[in-house]
Every structure is written in C-alpha cells, then in structure tokens.
C-alpha cells in the first residue's frame, strides 16, 4: 500500500462500522423477520453479544501478539508455518465469496427496483472498480475517507427510521417470540454469522493500529461495534413495528419503509436516501474486505508489493459476482443460509481455536523467562 502509516483508534472504529454494518442494515431485517418473526430484535441482541465476544477474542489475540499478529501472524505463530497459512485458505475462499456477494447485492437492489432495464454487471463492475481504486490508495486514505462516509450512512439510516415514526404500531411487536425460542435461535444463527460474526476478519486490520493509541483501541472498537448493534437493533424492531408479520416478505424492508414514508402522493420521497446508504455501505464493506483479502494473499504468497493483488482480486470478484448466483432465490439462500454458517463454522471457529491456543501457551514473554531460568 502506498500510504502504510498507522491508523488512529477512531479511524479503525469507522472501518469496523463500515465492515460490520455496511449494507447489512438494509438487507438483514427481512430474513431475520422471516426466520424469527416478532423476535427478530431478540436475535439481533443475542447476535450482537456474540459478535462482541468475537471482538473481545480478536482484541485478546492482538494484545498477545501485537504488531506481528494480525490474522496471518496469529495463525502462523499459533498453528505453525504449514498449518497456519493452510487454515487461511478457506478464509480466502470466504472472502472470494463475500466481495462478489456484496456487489451482487447492489446489482440486485437496483435491477429489482430503481433501474430494472440496466444489466447487473454494470452495477457490480463500477462498484468494485471504485472499491479497488480506494483500496489501491491505501488503508490510511481509505480510513480517512470512511471517517466522513460512515456518519453519512448512519445519519441516512437513522433519518429514515425517524421519518417513518407515524408508520410504527408498537403493538405489532407482541407477542415477543410468537413462534417460540427456536425461530429466535434461527435468527441468531443468521445475524450471528452475517454481519456480527464477520468481525473476526477485522483481526487482519489491527496491526495497522497506531502505537500511541493502543490503550484507546478496545474502547473505541467496542463503541463502534455497539453503534452497529444499536442500528441493526433499531432497523429490526422498526421493520417489525411497521410491517408486523409482513416484514419478512419485503426483500429490502428499510427501502420499503422509506417508500411508505409520507405515502398518499405527498412530496416526501426518501427511498433514494436508502439507495444511497446501500451503495455507501456496500462500497465501504467491499473496500474493507478487498483490503483484508489483498493483505492475506500478499502475506500468504510473500509478495513484496502489498497492493499487488488488489486489481486482480477485483477483476475475479466482478466475474464471480456475475456467475456465483444463478437467480435471486439462490442469492438469498447462499447469503442468508450458507454464508452465516460458514462464518460461524470457519471464521468464528478459527478465532476461538486461536484464542484457546494463545491462552494455553501463556504469555510469550513469561514463557521465555521461564525457559531462560
């Protein structure tokens, strides 16, 4: 990366919001409502707590292994020179799925609503081109840019939720967990994987943290993650309050919510705002994942130029975004069923393994002292 200087705690916080929330705020209320019914907000709450535990795990790993840590460094230190890089291969595969899925989401959104006659590849290729250019500019520039864009996305989303106040019927939230605890657990499985469990990938970014702000880092990251949690929670609870049982049937429930604001032909047309929030969120998430994937690949293959893989990865991802999903139903299945399970099974499992191994091995410093004694 051209500008490889360190990132402040606030910048990392913005990157975390961008990576964890991204476009999920527009997507996630619908499948959650479908799976968990009125208890979707409970699923979000539980998934947030699970994500918080994952965040604690990666912060623990970072504290133990420091600058040499990161996803690649921790795997190599704790699993060895062969097994360490080997376990990252599925993670690379996951990212090669996630990035195309993010940009395919933009394509689906526009083709199904605002611009039905434009082919999806236009949206995918342009979005990814901008993401690739941003990633190529370096992590510092990306972080600076996202510090400006994340508040815009948050304000847009909040504005829609506030403007839709007249649509809410809080009685629709009752009965809580109308179909029992199992649907709520199903919701937890979905939201725990997408987006909260994905936080494990952020371990790749932690070595960029500024040395001077290391003490501030856990607090700022937890705060950023909580902002994501609160917004997700609000999106889920507001969708249910507005649409009740029908919330699960709208693909983009926040967009539907926005289009119903001031209905009956008045002059308020705020759904464009959600379109902008979705583009912003997807763009930021794709950029962060592109940076992470590029970094892991550069470390795996020992590339001298740290940004060498950005454009090739982007090209491959554009092609995958056009071929990976046979139809919208297939997209929904892969994103809301396969992906959360993969995140929980591979990503969170790997993080847990690393945390346990690191804990068992004890403090590297004290181990060395013991050996010396």
């Amino acid at each position: 990366m051209r500008d490889s200087s360190s990132l402040t705690a606030n910048q990392l916080g913005s990157l975390l919001i961008a990576a964890s929330m991204g476009s999920a705020i527009v997507y996630i209320p619908a499948p959650l409502a479908q799976a968990a019914g009125n208890g979707s907000w409970l699923s979000v709450l539980a998934a947030y707590l699970f994500g918080l535990a994952m965040l604690g795990g990666i912060l623990y790993l970072y504290r133990r292994h420091g600058k040499e840590g990161g996803l690649f460094g921790c795997c190599r230190q704790l699993l060895g020179r062969v097994a360490g890089p080997a376990v990252l291969v599925p993670v690379v595969g996951m990212l090669f799925f996630a990035i195309p899925a993010i940009v395919a989401g933009i394509g689906d959104f526009f083709v199904s609503g605002m611009m039905p006659r434009t082919p999806p590849y236009i949206f995918c290729s342009f979005s990814l081109a901008v993401s690739a250019l941003t990633a190529k500019a370096g992590s510092k520039i990306t972080a600076r840019l996202f510090v400006m864009l994340v508040p815009v996305m948050v304000v847009f989303s909040l504005a829609v939720l506030i403007l839709a106040l007249p649509l809410y019927d809080w009685g629709r939230l009752l009965p809580i967990a109308d179909k029992g605890i199992k649907p709520v657990l199903h919701g937890l499985l979905i939201a725990g994987g997408f987006p909260f469990g994905e936080v494990f990938l952020f371990l790749a970014f932690l070595p960029y943290a500024s040395k001077e702000q290391e003490k501030l880092l856990p607090g700022r990251l937890i705060r950023a993650f909580t902002i994501t949690g609160v917004l997700m929670f609000l999106a889920a609870i507001c969708s249910t309050a507005a649409f009740g049982a029908a919330a699960g049937h709208f693909n983009y429930s926040l967009y539907t919510l926005a289009s119903n604001i001031g209905g009956s032909g008045s002059s308020q047309r705020v759904e464009a705002v959600i379109g902008m929030a979705l583009i912003l969120g997807s763009y930021m998430k794709a950029t962060v994942y592109l940076l992470i994937l590029n970094r892991i690949m550069a470390q795996l293959l020992g590339a001298k130029d740290e940004s060498a893989f950005i454009f090739p990865i982007a090209l491959v991802c554009v092609m995958l975004s056009l071929t990976l999903f046979a139809n919208p139903a297939d997209f929904l299945f892969q994103v809301y069923t396969v992906w959360p399970c993969t995140v929980l099974g591979i990503g969170c499992g790997l993080t847990l393994l690393l945390v346990v191994l690191s804990w068992l091995r004890g403090n590297p410093g004290s181990q060395e002292r013991k050996n010396a004694a």
Partner: protein
C-alpha cells in the same frame, strides 16, 4: 544585489577600457546612456556614468555631482579638488553616502545592475565603480482589488511592485517574527520572488517542505505567481486548486497568522498562499468583518452553493431520466408539461444550455469592460428566451442552469469555481449514463481524489478527513471572534491562559 552571471573582466582603472566593454555588451541597446563628465582641479579628471534611460528618471542621473558632494567637507577635501584616488579611498572605506549605494568590482555585475535600473559611475584611474539604486517606473497605485471586493473591510490591494507589496505586509505586521526570504529566478528575467512566514506560527516541517520544493526554481523565468504554484504543487492534473491567491493584504496577513506561507513575485499583484485546504476556499476575509450570525448564515449558504454548483444539473438529469418516481407527482407533471415538444433528452438539453452559459461567461470576461456585462446579460436573456421559444430547452432547464451559474458565482474563490465547472460535466455524463447510481459513483471518486490529494504534503481535506470537530466552528459557521481568537484553528496561535499550555 544579484549574483554574478558569468566570468567577466574586472572593472579596469582605464575608463576607455570599461567603456569599450560596456559598449560591446550593450550594442544596439539604445536605451542605455553613456554620459561623460569632468571633475577635479581644472576639470582634469574624467568620469563616466552608465544607466538605462527607460528605468532611471532624468532627474536622478546627476550622481557624479552627488558623489562629489558626498566628499565635501570631509577629510577627502573639497569637491573642486577631488582626485580619483580620493574618491576611491573614501567610498572603499565606507564613507557616508546616499542610501542604496555600493561599490562593485566586476563588469558583469555592472551590466546586471544597469539593467535593473541602477546608475553606475566609473572614475578614470580607479578600478572600481559606484552604483546607485535609482529605478523608478510609473506603476499602478494601491487600490481595491477588482476580484475580491468587500462591503465592509479594508480596500487595500497589492500592486505590481514587490517592494511595495512587502512594505504593505510589513506595515500590517511590524514584527521581527515576520521573516522574508528572497530568491531570484530566471537567467533572462531575474525575477525576484519573496516568501514570507511568521516564524513562531508556521510549522517547521511545512516550511522545510516548501523550501525543498521551491529549490531549483532559480533556473527558470517566472513571469507570474502561477508559475511558482505549478512548480511546487502536489498534483498537476487535479482540477482542484491546491493553493490560494489573493490581492488583499488583510487576507494575506490573516493567512500568515494562521501559519501559512505567502509567496510574492515581482511585477504581479497575486500573492500565493500555501498550503490551502479545501475548507479554506469556503471562507472569505469579509466573514470576519461582519456579525457572527450573518457570517454563519453566509457560510452555510456557500456550502449549499458548493453542492448546487457541482451537482444540480446532474441531479436533474438523473431524476428526470431514471428516477422520475422520486419527483413529487405535481412537480413531475409540471416538468413533463414544459418538456413537451423538446426533441432532446434532458442530458443533451442540459449540455446545450451549460455550454451556452460557459460561452457567455467566457465572452463576458474577454470583452472590454464596458461591453462585457451588457453582452452577457443580453446574451443570457435573449438566448434563454429564444431557446425556450424554439423548443430547444425547457424553462425548468433554464432555471437549473441559471441557478447552477449563480451558485458557482457565490463561491469566493475563482479557482475553486473553475474546478466545480469542470467537474459538472463528468457528473452530468455519469447521471445521464447511470442515473443516481452513476452520480454516487462520481461523488465517491471525487471524494476519493480529494482524500488522496495533498497540498504542500498536508492532506487537502484537513479538518474534514482527518475530521476535527473543533475546526467546524470556523468552517460550517463562524463563531464569535472572541472565542475564535482565544482558541483558533491553528493551535500554534493559541494564547496561553489558565489551564492551557503554551504550544510554542
């Protein structure tokens, strides 16, 4: 005094030899005068004065008399009995003389000085020359800058004379902290370039970076300040200006006090202020001369003007071409009604009107001053009306283009206005091709470019990215000066008070 240009003979004790050399150098330069004089007892000694007639006024050339007068009443003896050796020894040992006087030994230096408007005196039997600084060319007097008029505030502007401009600045900051450094640029033009800064305020790394960048400019001719900008800027192909220009001494002074570096070039009134961040282009010096509420309102209005000037035509194109469902029904019907019978798409319509507007604006600038405004007003009215009647453009498009034009005039900096004018066209293309999505892509690319851009090595979006809440008090609004002076944007300017550490 300028550095010597090449190896040349030293000043000879023989007057004829010196004269022959200079005659050869100044061959066919008919504005160079060679005047012969006699002095001393029985007018037995010869002297020669050389000067450029077009630079030195007629009443300034009796310097021989002045020289001899300097000797009068001193140990060297009376003027009537002065000898070449007396003249030489008096001036060489630093005798009292007129201000702007020097002794030179090299003929190449003599050539340079004559061309800079000095009078050079040679005395027979003395191997030195006396130089008097005497240029005087009629220049524009100090007046209000045409490009930066204010309703309230000083009317003092810079002129085409570097010395006078520096004097104006020095008058405003009579402190030894105001440092002025000089360089001379160009083999032919030998233009003087001065850069000034306030030593306790300017960041040392910024100053070092500026010095590093300006090094090497000496080799090239610099007719205007923009050459310096081109030499030291970070990105030549960016449409965004990376430095500010001003002709107002109060603006330059305020910039110096904020820790900026001011660059002045001889023969041009433009002062270059480096570095300039994006947020600097939103402010005007007058914001600090009016009441807080009004200044804050104007700042907000400028921010609105900034976004209108950049995006309004493209938003109109995107909405009318791709997202008509987002336009309120009544307005949509009104738009459709006015667009009926127009053979062009919204994009082509906007392009025609925008290009016409740009042509009118450019023509208005180039035409003689009494004619220019009349032509632009008449052109705008006639062409606008005729375009609507001929069904080339709809009234709503005329409103959009006019509003965009007015918004771009509301931006206080001309360079930034040009940047927005340039960017408006790719935005329109993006909106015409991909609607709102294209517009978003264009905006993201612009933001990415702005975030990557630097000015003198500093982030161009300083105050925005990295974001500083505190700076918004002097960007989005303008808080009362009392608070702003107590804790200004530049921490180096902070006045130490209870609970505040001295930053210096």
């Amino acid at each position: 005094m300028t550095p010597q240009t090449a190896k040349a003979p030293a000043v000879s004790a023989s007057l004829s030899s010196n004269r022959a050399f200079l005659k050869r150098v100044f061959e066919n330069c008919h504005d160079i005068s060679f005047d012969h004089w006699s002095y001393g007892a029985d007018l037995g000694y010869e002297a020669l004065s050389v000067y450029c007639r077009t630079l030195v006024p007629e009443d300034r050339n009796p310097y021989v008399k002045q020289t001899l007068h300097d000797l009068t009443g001193l140990d060297s003896g009376a003027a009537a009995t002065a000898t070449p050796s007396a003249v030489g020894s008096y001036f060489q040992s630093g005798g009292v003389a007129k201000q702007g006087f020097a002794v030179v030994r090299e003929l190449s230096e003599v050539v340079d000085l004559v061309l800079q408007g000095c009078v050079v005196l040679f005395f027979d039997q003395w191997d030195g020359a006396l130089v008097y600084h005497a240029p005087e060319i009629e220049k524009r007097p100090v007046s209000e800058p045409v490009n930066e008029p204010v309703v309230h505030g000083p009317r003092e502007g810079t002129v085409e004379d570097l010395g006078k401009n520096l004097g104006l600045l020095r008058q405003r900051i009579p402190s030894s902290d105001l440092k002025i450094e000089w360089i001379s640029a160009g083999r032919l033009s030998k233009t003087s370039i001065a850069f000034c800064y306030l030593e306790p305020v300017v960041a040392p790394d910024l100053l070092a970076e500026f010095r590093r960048r300006i090094a090497g400019l000496e080799r090239y001719d610099v007719p205007e300040t923009s050459y310096v900008e081109d030499w030291i800027q970070d990105s030549a192909y960016s449409p965004f200006p990376q430095f500010r220009y001003t002709e107002r001494t109060d603006t330059a002074t305020a910039a110096l006090m904020e820790g900026k570096i001011a660059v002045l070039v001889d023969h041009t009134p433009s002062i270059l202020i480096a570095p300039a961040y994006l947020v600097d282009f939103i402010g005007s010096s007058e914001d600090y001369y009016v009441r807080t509420v009004y200044a804050s309102m104007i700042r907000l209005l400028r921010l609105l003007a900034f976004s209108i000037a950049l995006t309004l035509p493209s938003i109109y194109i995107a909405l009318s071409t791709f997202h008509s469902e987002l336009i309120p029904t009544v307005l949509l019907l009104a738009i459709l009604d006015t667009r009926e019978g127009i053979p062009f798409s919204a994009f082509v319509e906007a392009l025609i009107m925008e290009i016409s507007f740009e042509l009118l604006r450019e023509a208005g600038i180039r035409l003689p001053r009494p004619v220019g405004p009349a032509v632009s007003i008449v052109g705008a009215l006639v062409i606008g009306q005729a375009a609507i009647m001929a069904k080339i453009a709809s009234p709503i498009m005329v409103i959009v283009v006019a509003l965009t034009g007015i918004a771009s005039f509301a931006i206080p900096n001309y360079g930034m206005g040009i940047a927005l004018r340039i960017l408006r066209f790719p935005y329109m293309v993006a909106a015409a091709a991909l609607g709102g999505f294209g517009l978003m892509i264009a905006m993201l690319l612009t933001l990415l470019h702005l975030t990557s851009l630097h000015t003198l090595g500093q982030p161009y979006l300083t105050s925005l990215a990295p974001f500083r809440w505190k700076d918004m008090r002097d960007i989005v609004v303008r808080i009362p000066l009392k608070q702003l002076l107590r804790s200004p944007r530049s921490r180096r300017l902070s006045i130490p008070s209870n609970g505040r550490k001295d930053p210096g």
